[in-house]
């Protein structure tokens, strides 16, 4: 029992480091589409792994810490507000679906991607005090379904290969 706790802490640390690294790698990937807020969402692979391997509480702790550290290292206060709103919306939707329904991992990943976009756009509307950005929402969501499915499939393969803690 004691050993299990230690393993969990170690695993949380490793996954947090991985999440920060993946966030950085994501910054290096050029975006071919000229749409605000469009990105692959690679870090969601790590979030999904944490959610399934360690649990909801750990997923929240790692997500909030990751957003904070990534903003400190590579971004600024503004980028933090946007990342945090998207990340929290996405994680809340995913953890609720996982806990209350029998939705599959890929579908949960897609819903997470959609809520990420919606959370970010909602915050952008508040900060910019303008509804203009809503024009981008439909295309963002459509792309979110594609990237969400891709990320879900990757997370599924990762979870199949790493040992249980």
């Amino acid at each position: 029992m004691r050993n299990k706790g230690k393993n969990q802490v170690a695993m949380s640390g490793v996954l947090l480091a991985l999440a920060i690294l993946v966030s950085y790698v994501e910054l290096l990937i050029p975006i071919p589409f000229p749409i605000v807020g469009m990105k692959l969402g690679l870090v969601n692979v790590v979030v999904l792994v944490v959610l399934y391997l360690l649990g909801t509480k750990e997923a929240y702790v790692i997500t909030v810490t990751r957003v904070f550290l990534v903003a400190l290292l590579f971004g600024n206060a503004f980028s933090m507000v946007y990342s945090l709103s998207g990340a929290i919306c996405s994680l809340t939707a995913m953890s609720l679906l996982k806990a209350k329904t029998k939705t599959s991992l890929v579908a949960i990943s897609i819903v997470g991607a959609l809520f990420h976009s919606m959370g970010q756009v909602a915050v952008a509307v508040v900060i910019l005090q303008s509804l203009a950005i809503l024009v981008y929402l439909p295309s963002l969501l459509l792309l979110g379904i594609a990237t969400g499915a891709l990320i879900g499939i990757i997370a599924q393969q990762v979870l199949r290969r790493i040992p249980q803690v």
Binding site: S104, S130, I133, V135
Partner: protein, 107 residues
């Protein structure tokens, strides 16, 4: 994935495609633009008049042949510059770090 999830997914995709097609088909060339900075209207400019708007926020907007594009911005992500040219009603160029929104309007 279960069958039910696929059906829900297809409905969502279909809805989004319909919205995007409606957006594209209803688009008309804009005539004026409105620049908002930090929640307040910064200015309105005609799209028919070629000019360069240099803003104190650090954004340089170019109006050229009925379209607009952000020529430069002093932010680190440069997303507004990468958005390229827009000119249809309802389209916008958004600069999140500087809280600048340039929206294309009918008149």
């Amino acid at each position: 994935m279960r069958k039910r999830e696929v059906i829900v997914g297809l409905i969502v995709i279909a809805t989004l495609i319909v919205i995007i097609v409606l957006q594209l088909s209803h688009s008309t060339k804009g005539k004026v633009i409105e620049i908002t900075w930090d929640g307040e209207v910064y200015g309105t400019y005609s799209l028919l008049e070629e000019q360069v708007v240099v803003m104190e926020s650090g954004n340089t907007l170019v109006i050229e042949s009925g379209e607009i594009y952000m020529e430069s911005a002093t932010c680190n992500n440069q997303l507004c510059v990468k958005q390229g040219r827009v000119g249809q009603v309802g389209e916008a160029i958004v600069c999140l770090p500087h809280k600048v929104v340039v929206q294309v309007n009918e008149e």
